[in-house]
Amino acid sequence: MRDRYALALGDDALILAQRLGEWVARAPELEEDVALANIALDLLGQARSLLTYAGELEGAGRDEDALAYWRDDRDFRNVLLVELPGGDFAVTMARQLVFAAYQYELYDRLRASTDDTLAAVAGKAVKEVHYHRDHATQWVLRLGDGTDESHRRMAAGLETVWPYVDELFEPFDGADVDPAALREPWQAYVGAVLAEAGLEPPATGQHRTGGRRGLHTEHLGYLLAEMQHLHRSHPGATW
């Protein structure tokens, strides 16, 4: 059970790290390139710890690389939100706000887990994610409360990611932290940011789900092709 939990949290971090890495050399300014790369590297570090631990718990001899590079999309357990294409900068910031606010509440509670490894990973990661949440908050405030164009784009970004919010809080068998318990504090934080930014939480009737069961969007396959290609072509490659 717990290996599946560690795997799901690790996959969330790994896939979002890959998505954020796509911004490098493409962000609006050099400084933002560096910021997004830093956040991606934080997430990659979390993914490494979590996947390594998931492999140990599974006991089948798979290490972090085996799990990251030798699984196909149906075996990934990340939520759909993190695999969505980056879109424009506002879509990326909308996802960052939604996901970092969720991950912050999650890690904050996971620190008290009876599982020493998960508690240790969470204890380190919660500081990183606190900054990720702040970074996204700063941008959502500026874009939402900026020009007409930035407001329009930020609102459109929220519309894009909102159908994927509910999945974050779905029950997870064997979870150390009940995802449903994160919804209220998440709502309080994100709601306050949106209100200050002059943005409305989108009213969406759509609720997309399936990532935790391996039922992904078409986007994940392309992401994995790029991420896994080198390792599969040259197994064991290092530099």
Binding site: E32, A35, H135
Partner: protein, 94 residues
């Protein structure tokens, strides 16, 4: 981008007791973002405990043309240097 973000000078204090040192400059849309960008660009490897940012256009600098008038007269006046005191070994960062 039709217009670039304004430029900020970044000062980082390496640890308590030391003063802020100029480490470089960066672009940011406003002061709050400049502090965050400075955190990402200049303190990724544990370089600091405190950051200052200052709008670059708020700095008034001495002119290179005035270099001789400004600095040369200080060159040959050794009696202005406090070199005749013994500095106690315990006084660090003096």
């Amino acid at each position: 981008m039709t217009s670039q973000w304004p430029l900020w000078e970044v000062f980082v204090r390496a640890k308590r007791g030391l003063s802020h040192i100029h480490v470089g400059s960066l672009h940011a849309p406003d002061a709050a973002m400049a502090v965050r960008n400075a955190r990402d660009v200049y303190t990724r490897r544990g370089e600091g405990v405190s950051i200052w940012v200052v709008p670059s256009d708020q700095i008034t600098a001495s002119s290179p043309d005035e270099k001789d008038a400004f600095f040369d007269p200080a060159g040959d006046k050794v009696y202005r240097h406090p070199t005749f005191y013994e500095v106690p070994a315990e006084a660090k960062h003096l």
